[in-house]
Structures are given as C-alpha cells and as structure tokens.
Amino acid sequence: MYETNYHRASSVDEAAQLMGNAGEGKYLAGGMTLIATMKQRLASPSDLIDLRHIASMKGITVNGRHVTIGAGTSHYDVASSEALRAVCPALCHLASHIGDPHVRHMGTIGGSVANDDPAADYPSAVLALNMTVKTNKREIAADDFFVGMFETALEDGEIIVSFSFEAPDKAAYQKFPNPASRYAMAGVFVAKKGSDVRVAVTGAGSNGVFRHTGMEAALKAAWAPDALAAVSVDAGLMMADIHGNSDYRANLVKVMAKRAVAAAG
C-alpha cells in the first residue's frame, strides 16, 4: 500500500471540510473494498476521511411503511434489523448474503452504493425499491443516481447520508454467486407496490446496474414467475468474461428474476 494520511471525521460537515483540504482524498466507510484495493496499489488516495465514527449516519428508522437507513449502517445491522424485516425482509435477505460475516460487520450500505461496483448487491435494491439517496447537498432519485460502472451522480466531495423508501407490498432478491469470488454473476431485485413493479439487475449488465422494463411490464400484467417466460433479455447488454459469456448471463438474469418473483410470493 502506498502512503496515505488518515483523518477521522466526527460529523458530516467535518468530513466534507477535511475532503476540501485534501489533495487526492477518498472517503473511507467500512473499507471492505477501498482498503483491499489500496493494498493492491490499484488506488492511492493521499488522504482517507473516515466516516465510520459519524453517529448521525448510522441506524435504521421505520415509520409505518417509510424506511430510512443511515449510509453508515453495516450490512450486519441491516440484515439483523427486526424493524426492517417486518416491512421489507427482502432487503435483510440481500444484506445477509453480502461477502462473509466479518465483511458484513464492517461494510456499509453507503460505501457499497457510492462505489457502485457492477457486481455489488445493494445498487439493485436502491433501484428496485426506488430509494431516495440523500447526500450532504441534495436528494437524488434512484433512477438518476447510477451512471455506469463505478460511476454515480455523486459530485466530488459529496457524501451519501441516508437512503429512504416506502416499503413495497412484495419484494425479493435472488443472485447467482460466482463460485469462487461469490460476487453476483447475476442478481435480480423485484419489487411490487400497488400496480407498480420494478425489476433491477446487477452483476450482469455491461454498464452496471439497470432496470429491465420488459420484465417490469410482464410482471405488471401478471405477477408470476411464468409471466417472464416470453420476455427476452438482450445478451448485447450483458457482460462477458471468463466466468460466463453474455448469452449465459442473459439466461441467468431471467432465471434469477423468476426465482425472485417466486420467493416474493
């Protein structure tokens, strides 16, 4: 790892200020991606601004069907929140399958979403649950947030503070993990709220997480796994690598979507 300078922020404002003074600074949340990347010398920030000790960025509040999750909340805390499980168990399920138990103790929802790894799980939930991403500067709608692989609408120095959404009537997330890395080769989050259906796909798309409007339309017409039988998933939009070609991934997307609808009930 190259040399770096560590700073611990105790508030969001202080973190933004520290970043303003830094050369090539990076925010550090749980560090489960960033520290690993720095160890491989694939990232070399001059300064790290640690967000882990900002109390206002942690915790989950459920008010009726309205859910707010602090960006600094760990995967473990999302997975084990009884209040969240009561209104949106799909999100607990998703969080409980990220990485391993030790990674889930450190990694945070904000870190995952801000990094926007094309194989990360959370971006699919943000999109399918139509979350509002609140930053220290503004509120961003889920549909405007993800720009491409590792690219979001966040501006330099902008910090995600929390996520909020209205709990869906039904939802589920199913992924096919790569047998070695355990990252999703295709992960599909489906959510139904009233007559609205949203389907978000992660791990498979060549431009990062995306909504599949064809599957959404089919599921709006009939909420059942079989409703997806006639929907085609364009292999041209899929990633291809040594783990699977684009036809394989296109097929996986459909299989995961069917499983997700079945799991949502």
Binding site: T4, Y6, G31, G99, P101
Partner: protein
C-alpha cells in the same frame, strides 16, 4: 507516524505506526501477538479474524489507525490461564485442525458465530457462516463438528445458569 491506542485482550496498549499500517501487522509486529495470522492478504481466508468492539472482523483489511480507540480480542485473549475457552477445547477434542494455520481465525469466527446464534446453530448455518474462512487441510468436517459441539456446550451452560 501516528499514535494508535487500543485495548487488546483487556489491556490498554499503544504504539506508533504509519497510517497505512494494517491492524494485523500492528497486532503481530508492534504488540508481538503472533497468534493472529496472515493467510491470503486479500480479505478471503479469514486467518486474521479478531474481534473489534465485540464483532468479528478481518484485521488484514482494517488500518490500525481506523481501529484506534477500540477494544480488540485476539486468539491470545480467549483462554483464562491454562483453561481453554470452550471453543478452543472443542477444536482440540474434535480434532478440528490439522496444520493449524487457519485455526486462530476459525476459533475467533466460531466464538462470534455462537455469540450471534446461541444454541440455535445447525450444521447448514455453520457451513454458511464459514464462508469467509478457508482451511486447506481438514475439508471442514471436523471444524463444523467442533463448532456445533462448542455451541451445544456453551448453550447448555447458559441454560444451566439461568
């Protein structure tokens, strides 16, 4: 150089290190506690698992400065004197190790697992929860057996105390 202060196995310790120093290196080199191992260095193998503020973490993917101010428990902090922790005893009893390299991480993982699940651990859960720990010798069977046996004993002990 930055001063890092930790409570390690109940003892307040401090030392100077670079900001880029990993927690596992601080534990091994500054504190001389070499029970915590570095296996893969890529956050996969779990040989470096310690507890930070009561939760299992991979100390090869945390900077020492990030951990400053926290309470750390390493494998050296589990036993009381010559009396092994029930999880350590179960690994010994069930032959839950061969070469022993992954064992510190396995034991620290097992203690955390039992803390979270209590007496409700079953084989499938144990196998799932070992996702972040790699053993190249045992084929995991005896590790799983050791953890289930320790969970039984610790759960049983808790019930007896109640």
């Amino acid at each position: 150089m930055t001063k890092v202060t930790l409570t390690v196995n109940g003892r307040k310790v401090s030392g100077e290190c670079e900001d880029r120093t990993l927690l596992v290196n601080f534990i091994r080199e500054n504190l001389g506690l070499t029970g915590t191992h570095v296996g893969c260095d890529t956050t996969q193998c779990g040989a470096c698992v310690v507890h930070m503020d009561g939760r299992s973490v991979k100390s090869c993917t945390i900077l020492a400065v990030q951990a400053s101010g926290s309470e750390i428990t390493t494998i050296e902090g589990l036993s009381s004197g010559d009396t092994l922790h029930p999880v350590q005893a179960a690994f010994k009893e069930n032959h839950g190790l061969q070469c022993g390299f992954c064992t510190p991480g396995m034991v620290m993982t097992a203690v955390d697992m039992i803390r979270r699940h209590g007496g409700q651990l079953d084989e499938q859960t144990v196998r799932q929860e070992l996702e972040g720990n790699i053993c190249r010798c045992t084929g995991y069977h005896n590790i799983v057996k050791s953890i289930l046996s320790a969970a039984d004993e610790m759960g049983g002990a808790k019930q007896a105390a109640e």
